[in-house]
């Protein structure tokens, strides 16, 4: 059938995925440590259109694109705003860096520093996963703790461990796993960012730009839909008028 129908439909499918991504960003507009995604689309490989069977000097017509697809969903690791909470077990990283978390599936990384103390006295996430220090899980002493920029925990002047905060040379290698966690290919290197106590990092979703992207995605979807309809009208003519018997 007409190639353009499929081309326009591929555009609609790509915009659907883009809208899904924007919806997820908006749903997480208030999620601590959430990093927004953007859907990057690309065109399919173009076809070379050439007349054949025309003898020696077949003229080249050129190439023809056959639609769009979502090539990657890239996570944007810019910093979110800092919100003071007043809780001594809330942490944020100012600058580059992720907290290392021990999960049943292995070590994971997060920017969500809303931790609590477990009944065993260990620093844990809201999932109950243990927060890792330089030497394994961190046991947090009873009472008020203070944490300095490098993640060293002290309780009344007595050292009580150090948070493991790491950064990665290539942050694009981090894969989202849900629950505010990222999976990374390695263990990373010591982070250059500073740990801030009593603050949480807000999501880096900018609602205005997401709304603009939502509108743009919707309109792109609409024009593709119109193109499908125009092609359908062409087919209608071809079938019902040209071929009238």
């Amino acid at each position: 059938m007409i190639r353009g129908i499929y081309t326009a439909a591929s555009g609609m499918l790509a915009e659907t995925t883009r809208t899904d991504t924007i919806a997820n960003n908006l749903a997480n507009a208030n999620t601590t440590g959430y990093k927004k995604d953007i859907a990057v689309s690309k065109d399919f490989a173009s076809l070379l259109i050439r007349r054949i069977n025309d003898g020696q000097d077949a003229p080249v017509i050129g190439t023809l694109g056959i639609g769009a697809m979502i090539d990657q969903v890239a996570t944007i690791q810019t910093a979110g705003g800092m919100r003071p909470t007043g809780s001594s077990l809330d942490f944020a990283v100012d600058g580059k860096g992720f907290f290392a978390i021990e999960t049943p599936a292995g070590v994971r990384f997060t920017r969500n520093g809303a931790f609590t103390r477990s009944a065993q006295g260990e620093l844990v996430t809201h999932e109950g996963y243990r927060v890792l220090g330089q030497n394994g899980p961190l046991r947090i002493p009873d009472g008020k703790i203070s944490v300095d920029g490098s993640g060293r925990i002290t309780n009344g002047g007595i050292a009580a461990g150090q948070l493991r905060v790491v950064e990665f040379a290539d942050e694009r290698q981090l894969v989202k796993e849900g629950d505010s966690l990222f999976r990374a290919p390695g263990n990373g290197r010591p982070a250059s960012g500073n740990v801030v106590q009593g603050f949480l990092e807000q999501s880096n979703v900018n609602v205005v730009s997401e709304m603009v992207n939502l509108i743009a995605g919707y309109r792109a979807y609409e024009v593709n839909a119109k193109t499908v309809q125009a092609h359908d009208q062409l087919l209608d003519k071809a079938v019902n008028e040209v071929g009238k018997v």
Partner: protein
């Protein structure tokens, strides 16, 4: 159907929970010893449409994949045990804890509950009880002929009698490793859970426990301005999610009208 509908739907549900919590904080802005809560959100699972790191040639691989998220969920409602403001009442039976810890209360079923609300009263038997009539643990009984009581900062209760003074008991304070894990049961009371750990009971002022202040009450730690800002943020987040749903619906309408 289009994923965005449900994804944005989870966003609306999450913001409703957020607003519920903010409403409860605001409703209790003047409740003695009330501790505010906040809702913690996390993103939901991701569907991988194209795996990052998949081979695209003999020695090339995809630098990043295509993962589409499915929205948000609330993972915890965390109570924040920061100190509330003190209010002077002039009443000898009003006690506030300055620092960590809880008063222990004996419930009608014999179990213990814990509270930061120190507005005690005297019942018909002379016991110190909460506004609900639940006695303080360990029980403090005030002699009938007492003209007043004094509570020291370390919890020693002394009754003033016409013949002099008499020690009538010691108020102890319970502390928990993880107070955020305590279960709220209403009426300003919380209960121990597996997450909070077992209580450590001691005299006020010892081993990191707070000290007592007589004639003062601890007010709620709700900050109205902060809650109002959170309310605005929650409403707008709800609103943008509803716009995303409308857009996804319009897209479905477009798709449906392709077929004439």
């Amino acid at each position: 159907m289009i994923r965005a509908l449900w994804t944005a739907g989870t966003g609306m549900v999450a913001q409703q929970a957020n607003l519920d919590m903010i409403s409860n904080n605001l409703a209790n802005v003047n409740t003695t010893g009330f501790k505010k809560s906040r809702v913690e959100f996390q993103d939901l699972m991701y569907q991988t449409l194209r795996q990052a790191g998949a081979a695209t040639g003999p020695d090339t691989q995809l630098p990043s994949g295509v993962q589409v998220g499915h929205g948000v969920r609330e993972v915890a409602t965390q109570k924040l045990y920061t100190q509330g403001n003190f209010q002077n009442t002039g009443n000898d039976f009003d006690l506030a804890i300055e620092g960590d810890g809880f008063f222990q209360i004996t419930m009608p079923d014999g179990t213990l509950a814990y509270t930061r609300d120190g507005s005690f009263k005297k019942d018909s038997q002379g016991r110190m009880v909460t506004a609900e009539g639940y006695p303080l643990e360990p029980a403090i009984t005030i002699p009938e002929n007492a003209t007043g009581i004094t509570v020291s900062s370390d919890g020693l209760v002394t009754a003033t009698l016409s013949t002099g003074t008499q020690d009538i008991g010691q108020i102890t304070i319970a502390r928990f490793v993880n107070p955020a894990g305590l279960e709220s049961i209403g009426r300003n009371l919380v209960k121990e859970t597996a997450a909070s750990g077992a209580p450590t009971v001691g005299n006020p002022g010892t081993d990191g426990a707070g000290t007592l202040v007589q004639q003062y009450l601890e007010m709620s730690n709700v900050q109205v301005v902060e809650e109002m800002v959170n309310m605005i943020v929650a409403q707008r987040a709800y609103e943008v999610n509803s716009k995303a749903i409308q857009t996804a619906d319009d897209m479905l309408g477009q798709a449906a009208s392709l077929k004439r």
